[in-house]
């Protein structure tokens, strides 16, 4: 009895306390959030999960160089998927920045408000895979309280000392945004300027030394396959701010040469050649006869060192500064800048000059020439100065720096003479002191990444098929195969290949599977033998039909329905296949598909069939050029791949004699 009374008492206290909390929370909702929650949004497509009502950042630079960053953000969930967006985040660097405050509120459709208390804050590492990483995130996750129609709002205040007096403000992500505002409050005697991307020029409103950039009613940016990255679609301003008269302790860049000088100062001290490095280099290049041989030997060693990301001392610029080459060699691991720097140092031991190159990995259209800033890069590769005797497709030429062989030492699967397709054509900064400049990286032809396939097969009178397939892959196609072969054990690799083969040839069994990574030849080969009990369909013992394209369909582009909004980015590739099928005894060809040739500005495809001496000779080839196809030409792409799909499904009809 006493126990039950006690429970009721506790319950009453809880209810009372909860009611107070809700009431107090309503009173504490900041004005900007109340106003945002009251705003009306247009009606969007049903796929749009949420609308950003208020997206604001207020940056205040103190006279001591400290930045105070206040973020005010409000979002309304439009459907259940929108619940995923109900989280507040504040990123900070453990050793150099701080989250002063993080608060969040959920305004339910009924109007009641939940205020998230301090016990709702989660403070976690930013990347569970990285050991040496100072980035952390504070999060308040409101997903479990979210419902369609509710508004989730948060405010964060962080402080930091910026490395550069530069910043990037992207006005939206894929979600529609009603208000997006960036305010920069500078000390007296300071000024700011901006460059606009993905939009007509956005001018700030200026009041004294306070600058505000603002946009309203931004439409959603729907995801589409093979479209440009959202970073190249959403409006953004890149901002510089500095004292009117130059003073010390501010770092700003007015051109790429300045960034190059800064990068050189950062890299050069770490590229000191010592006896260990010299000895290791001698060992690696002992059998190298040419300049290219030496580069390959060193590159092969460096790219095979274990990759370990090291993001320590970011606030002091260590995100751009490599660790000493001697230390990286001693430890046997490093990140992209460590690898590029070690390779430079080793090359210097054989009198080959080279430069670090800052690049953006993952999107070759991200870096813009108009705004000189290290903030545009996330990766470091290397440019090796080569003599005329060295000739590979990845060489670019500069009047001052000469012939530069571009190489990414972090990509274990891309060899010297090849270049990752997600970096091809990107602007990148060759860091070479006063001679450094932003240059466009090489774009390789489709032929550099070609796949050649040869197959011979016997089609038996009972419809069974057996044969062999031989492939030679080059460039980025080889890199993909190499990556797959490295990632999978032999048993897993066999399972994957069986899945690939049986996709078209049901029940096929592999009797031989030999992948060969011929790095010296820049090739990846694959040989396999197979047999399938039934491939062709035999109808009443009289009619036999089969499809000669028995492996590797070429119509693999993902196409979307509806009107295309953004352009389509196609990567370069080339494929050729030659198949010879021994036709079954006692059958004659009754119907053979017609040869076909499709040619467009972005690619071409042709297929031929021939019957000769009891064999069917089937040849097909596809070439795709690295192209950006405008959205209004999307139907051309769909039609191109649809025609390929139709052609590749065409069967051969055999009749019993």
């Amino acid at each position: 009895m006493y126990y039950r009374k006690f429970l009721w008492l506790i319950l009453l206290i809880c209810i009372n306390s909860y009611a107070n909390r809700v009431l107090a929370a309503s009173e504490n909702v900041p004005t900007w959030l109340s106003q945002a929650a009251a705003s009306k949004a247009p009606v969007y497509d049903r796929e749009v999960p949420a609308v950003v009502l208020h997206n604001e950042q207020i940056i205040t630079l103190n006279t001591d160089g400290q930045l105070i960053i206040t973020t005010n953000y409000a979002i309304r969930m439009l459907n259940r998927e929108g619940k995923n967006f109900a989280d507040a985040t504040a990123v900070y660097i453990q050793s150099s920045s701080k989250v002063r405050e993080i608060r969040a509120w959920m305004i339910r459709p009924s109007g009641t408000v939940k205020s998230y208390e301090k016990d709702s804050i989660i403070d976690q590492i930013s990347d569970p895979d990285d050991i040496y990483n100072e980035y952390r995130i504070k999060i308040i996750n409101g997903e479990s309280d979210a419902e369609p129609g509710a508004v989730f709002g948060y405010q964060t205040v962080t402080e930091e000392h910026p490395l550069f007096t530069q910043d990037i403000w992207t006005f939206q992500n894929r979600l529609p945004t009603l208000l997006s505002r960036y305010t920069l409050n500078l000390p007296s005697g300071w000024q700011a300027s901006s460059t606009t991307f993905n939009s007509p020029d956005i001018k700030p409103s200026v009041s004294g030394t306070s600058y505000t950039w603002e946009l309203h009613d931004l439409a959603p940016i729907p995801p589409e396959p093979d479209s440009p990255n959202v970073r190249n679609l959403a409006p953004r301003v890149d901002i510089n701010y500095s004292p009117v008269s130059a003073t010390a302790n501010t770092r700003n860049f007015s051109n790429w040469q300045e960034v190059s000088v800064w990068g050189t100062e950062l890299h050069s001290p770490s590229a000191q050649l010592d006896d260990n490095i010299a000895a290791k280099t001698r060992e690696l290049t002992a059998n190298a006869k040419t300049e290219l041989d030496k580069i390959r030997a060193i590159a092969n060693f460096v790219q095979n060192l274990q990759y370990i990301a090291i993001d320590i001392g970011i606030g002091r610029g260590n995100g751009y500064r490599p660790r000493p080459a001697s230390l990286v060699l001693q430890r046997g691991y490093g990140d992209c800048k460590d690898k590029a720097n070690l390779m430079r140092t080793m090359l210097s031991a054989v009198k080959i000059e080279s430069y670090p190159v800052f690049i953006y990995s993952g999107d070759p259209t991200f870096v813009r020439a108009e705004w000189a800033s290290p903030y545009q890069f996330n990766h470091c590769i290397i440019a090796v100065k080569v003599s005329p005797e060295t000739n590979v497709p990845t060489i670019i030429t500069d009047e001052k720096l000469g012939r530069l062989l571009i190489f990414d030492a972090t990509d274990e699967s891309t060899l010297v003479g090849d270049f990752p397709d997600h970096e091809q054509g990107s602007f990148a900064l060759v860091v070479a002191g006063n001679d450094g400049k932003l240059m466009q990286m090489p774009i390789l032809s489709p032929d550099n990444s070609r796949l050649e396939r040869f197959a011979e097969a016997n089609l038996m009178p009972d419809g069974s098929l057996n044969g062999s397939i031989h492939e030679h892959a080059f460039g980025q196609t080889a890199a993909g195969f190499r990556r797959e072969s490295r990632a999978l054990s032999a048993a897993q690799y066999k399972t994957v290949m069986e899945g690939w083969l049986t996709h078209r040839v049901s029940g096929a069994k592999l009797s031989k599977l030999t992948p060969k990574d011929l790095r010296g030849d820049g090739r990846f080969d694959l040989d396999l033998d197979f047999a399938a009990d039934s491939y062709a369909q035999l109808m009443q013992g009289r009619l036999m039909i089969f499809k000669p394209a028995f492996v590797g369909r070429l119509d693999s582009l993902t196409v979307s329905d509806g009107k295309r909004v953004h352009s389509v980015l196609l990567n370069a590739s080339a494929y050729s296949e030659s198949i010879k099928v021994k036709l079954p005894d006692g059958f004659v060809v009754d119907e053979l598909p017609e040869a076909s040739k499709i040619e467009t500005s972005f690619g071409k495809y042709n297929v031929t069939y021939e019957v000769k001496d009891g064999f069917l000779l089937f040849n097909r080839a596809l070439t795709i050029n690295k192209t950006e196809v405008a959205a209004d030409k999307y139907d051309t792409i769909k039609s191109f791949f649809a025609k390929i799909r139709t052609v590749e499904g065409d069967p051969v009809v055999l009749l019993k004699k």
Partner: protein, 689 residues
């Protein structure tokens, strides 16, 4: 005193382990043991010279030994000493062991972390203490997960990586710990040393291994070891991991007080070494819930009588009660419209009568109300606790509550136990959740208990009926209307995954499903029926248009009549198999398709695939095709079932046969027909199998 401590701390320990598991890398999942001795074990020339695993030729790395020393001798803490020595064979092995994370939570300490690599030439690189970082992985509301982490220097194929550390868990005991006896890499020598509390002999159950026992070792430890243990690998359609991977559960005798009065107290002893006695004690303890359910309450009796109304048979009465509980009581476990705020404001149910009074309750409370109402009508009602086939194939010899959960209300209907679970929102009358079907269940009455095996539903109960009426155009385009109907587990699964979605989201999901199979399909007018009605089949209908469905050549069209199996692939592709093959439940499919053929085309050498079946009636696949008298309409009928006679688990040796069987099913299902232009119609029946 120790027992009480252990009971509390075990649950704490399990919660922490569950949380930590998400972070633990391959290397962190097990522990190491070197005792308290800081010296490394000698490395043999053979270990230095190893080029490949002696256990699995293509292994990326192999643990030469993997030792964990579990010291439960202290009343204050549980200590685990971990010691692992791994040989790296290739790049993948290097990648796996290049970073070591050892996470731990509040109440745990990680001490004496030591690591080194030994190169193939015997030279050694020690990892400096300052290179072992201590990190806060996550902090939230007083909870903190930390990790000791380090990168392994100079790691490359051919080296040996070895490391060890001591893990101390305060206020914890080893009872309830799972010991993993099969790792992600092959292990030459996998050992657990165990020092139980109070010098008792180890009490344990081992699973999926028969040869392992604890034997007395030095200094109060017992040793259980396995040699040459292959790595654990997942495969599609395998039994749950706990059913195939080798592991061990440490356990102990427990004393639970069940009642205290002025005159004394009553208690039960749960001794897992005697399953009969153990489950008897569990039943005694859990009888309280049955008593709570069966306690006579006037309101419940009155309502049950009203609901049963004129129902005459036990079946009719129970069906009415079931329907009442599922439709008239708000099941808050399955109601996404209830906001978090509303949940907080809900009055709690302290008794079963409260569930009726509030007309609202959780799934478990709805079950209890059903049981109480059935009891009020005079039925004998017990509570059923079953195993979970999605996790483990439970057997009563496994004397541990860990393996059972409250599954259903057992009602004695004319001396036959029937099982009901109206608390699962979309479960029709007479059906159990799939993973409880076929599982052993402990039935707990007020004073008695019994073991029964719950029934497994037949394939025809879990059916998909697919019908389509199409028109094939001269250019190969197929267009028409489709209806798909699911019953049994197939319906419940879909209802459970759909009930929180809006109708628009449900339609989008179906559209995506069609698109995944046939990329060029254009589906419209998608409608979903009975998505939240437990008694009716889950149904969806749509219109579809597929350009180039049939391939066209100069004078022929090639068409697959079974639209529903278009682009489907055989279930199994791998040529080899390690684990048993397992299907969740038997199921059946029935397809009826009508296709109007294009004018001017007629079937050429039409042929229907042969029927596939087996003497044990485990599976059947038949296809019949008919052509109308005017030669214009093709009718296709397919019947399929799998799992006849409750056969859903197959030994590894049956894999080649099963693989071939499913390849033949696929061949039948994707069978094509040829239409030839300008030929006389082949009217009449083509072939019947």
């Amino acid at each position: 005193m120790k027992i009480a401590q252990t009971n509390i701390s075990r649950s704490t320990f399990n919660v922490m382990c569950a949380f930590l598991c998400a972070f633990w890398t391959l290397t962190g999942t097990a522990a190491v043991f070197a005792g308290n001795n800081d010296t490394w074990k000698p490395v043999s020339p053979a270990e230095l010279a190893m080029k490949e695993s002696s256990i699995e030729k293509d292994a990326d790395a192999e643990a030469i030994f993997w030792e964990v020393r579990v010291d439960d001798s202290s009343t204050d803490e549980l200590a685990l000493n971990h010691y692992i020595r791994v040989k790296i064979f290739n790049e993948r092995g290097r990648e796996k062991f290049s970073k070591i994370d050892i996470p731990y939570a509040k109440g745990m300490k990680i001490k004496n972390v030591m690591a080194r690599i030994i190169k193939a030439d015997g030279s050694i690189v020690e990892i400096a203490k300052e290179d072992v970082l201590e990190r806060d992985i996550i902090k939230a509301d007083g909870l903190k997960i930390k990790a000791k982490s380090f990168a392994v220097p100079n790691i490359e194929p051919g080296v040996i990586v070895e490391y060890r550390y001591r893990e101390v868990i305060g206020d914890a005991g080893a009872v309830g710990m799972r010991l993993t006896f099969q790792r992600e890499i092959p292990v030459e020598n996998l050992s657990y040393y165990y020092k139980p509390y109070n010098d008792k002999a180890p009490n344990f159950q081992s699973f999926n291994m028969s040869e392992v026992n604890f034997v007395k070792d030095k200094k109060g430890y017992y040793l259980a070891t396995r040699q040459n243990v292959p790595s654990f690998k997942e495969e599609p359609r395998m039994p749950p991991e706990d059913q195939v991977r080798a592991w061990m559960l440490l356990q102990g005798v427990r004393l639970n007080v069940t009642d205290v009065s002025m005159t004394g107290f009553t208690f039960i002893v749960k001794d897992p070494s005697d399953p009969g006695s153990y489950w008897g004690a569990v039943s005694t303890e859990r009888a309280a819930l049955t008593k709570l359910m069966n306690k006579p309450v006037d309101d419940i009796k009155r309502t049950a009588t009203e609901v049963a109304g004129a129902a005459a048979t036990p079946e009719e009465k129970l069906r009415k009660l079931y329907e009442y509980c599922q439709t008239q009581i708000k099941n808050v476990s399955f109601d996404s419209s209830i906001s978090a705020e509303q949940r907080q404001e809900m009055a709690p149910n302290k008794t079963v009568a409260d569930v009726l009074k509030h007309k609202s309750g959780s799934g478990g409370e709805v079950d209890l109300l059903f049981g109480a109402m059935a009891k009020a009508l005079g039925f004998e009602t017990w509570v059923a606790y079953s195993g979970d086939r999605s996790k483990m194939f439970f057997d009563p010899k496994m004397a541990n509550e860990y393996f059972i959960h409250r599954a259903a209300i057992a009602v004695n209907v004319e001396n036959d136990w029937k099982f009901f679970n109206p608390g699962v929102r979309f479960l029709p009358y007479g059906q159990l959740v799939w993973y409880e079907e076929g599982a052993w269940a402990l039935l707990v009455g007020e004073n008695k208990n019994a073991w029964v095996r719950m029934p497994l539903s037949a394939a025809e109960k879990n059916q998909s009926k697919r019908t389509g009426k199409f028109k094939l155009l001269e250019d190969g385009t197929l267009e028409g209307k489709v209806r798909v109907e699911y019953t049994g587990h197939q319906a419940v699964t879909r209802k459970l995954s759909n009930y929180e979605n809006s109708s628009v989201e449900q339609e989008d999901a179906i559209k995506e499903e069609i698109k995944r199979r046939i990329g060029s399909a254009e589906s419209t007018n998608i409608k979903v029926e009975n998505a939240s009605d437990p008694a009716k089949p889950f149904v969806y209908t749509y219109k579809v248009r597929v350009p180039d469905y049939a391939q066209k050549t100069g004078k022929r069209l090639f068409m697959q009549p079974n639209f529903f199996e278009y682009n489907e692939k055989p279930l199994f592709t791998a040529s080899t198999r390690k684990h048993e093959i397992y299907f969740n439940y038997p199921w059946a499919e029935s397809d009826v398709i009508q296709i109007e053929l294009p004018a001017g085309f007629a079937l050429e050498s039409p042929d229907a695939p042969s029927a596939l079946s087996d003497p044990d009636k485990i599976a059947l696949n038949t296809v019949q095709m008919f052509i109308s008298k005017d030669g214009r309409t093709l009718t296709y009928k397919r019947k399929f079932y799998f799992g006849g006679g409750g056969n859903i688990l197959f030994p590894v040796g049956a894999y080649p046969v099963l693989k071939s069987l499913f390849e033949n099913f696929n061949k039948n299902d994707t069978h094509g027909l040829v239409l030839k232009q300008d030929q006389a119609s082949n009217a009449g029946t083509t072939k019947t199998n």
